[in-house]
Symmetry: C2
Subunit: 160 residues, 2 copies
């Protein structure tokens, strides 16, 4: 269990990353680190514009690096320290990786105040499909449902 002092120490490392990598031109002002047993196992920073990858947020980059390091798709005993509250995409990634804790500094409102869309995406997720700004079209398919049935019958599958 981390103390408040340990949390602040690790969070400051994520904040330092956010500043240094922004200044180096990698992308937006966001940094994240992943800690397991008091050890930093991965660092990430925003690289959206420098790598032309809209998914390259600090948290996502750090998650991919950490999983590559531990050779597993879950990070159950890990804490992610991020300079800003995760956007919905990163929040989803954090749940899929099954983190123990998330520690963050700036909020989604702070992000909105400097022009980032996080709050808008949170609103859209809560909206019914018919009211979303991107058109969502549901085309039910028996073939697609059959693939799901095949999954349930697959003997050698790895659950995640």
């Amino acid at each position: 269990m981390q103390t408040r002092e340990q949390d602040e120490k690790f969070l400051q490392i994520a904040i330092d990353l956010s500043l240094n990598k922004m200044n180096e031109g990698h992308g937006g002002p966001f940094g994240a680190i992943i800690v397991c047993d008091e050890e930093i196992i991965a660092e990430g920073w925003n690289q959206v514009t420098s790598t032309n990858d809209p998914t390259a947020h600090a948290e996502m980059v750090a998650i991919r690096k950490a999983c590559n390091k531990v050779k597993h798709f879950e990070l159950k005993d890990c804490v992610i320290y991020t300079s800003c509250e995760p956007c919905p995409m990163c929040l989803g990634g954090i749940y899929w990786a099954r983190f123990k804790r998330v520690v963050y500094a700036n909020t989604r409102e702070d992000a909105k105040n400097i022009g980032f869309d996080d709050g808008h995406i949170y609103d859209e997720i809560a909206s019914p499909h018919s009211k979303r700004k991107i058109e969502f079209c549901h085309c039910p398919s028996t073939n697609a449902l059959n693939v799901f049935n095949e999954w349930t019958k697959k003997n050698d599958k790895i659950d995640y």
Copy 2:
């Protein structure tokens, strides 16, 4: 503007990917393609377990490939066809890439019925931090806010 027949044709390609790549052992039963001007510019399929990457959902893989191909972090004129309604992580990725449309076959309820967590994550996103299953800890930091202020003053930044 795609017709219903065109939508069904493209969606079937995503469904075929979901079946074939599942059978080949890449991961869960999910496939996606990205279409621009009637042309398929990227394909993706779930690779979570085969690459130890919890972010390697079909839609995310396709988005990263498409952006790499067009050399831009936005896909404004594109449609994503996916064999299943996007999870919150992929939905976030879709908004950040600023797609025109999303066409999907199976629903989040169908995914839940075969053991996938999407619905749970949608619920968690809507929950206040204090009620979430992963602990979210807000540690406000003047240093972190200062980095955001630096961003607003940065002259050579690329907005996204």
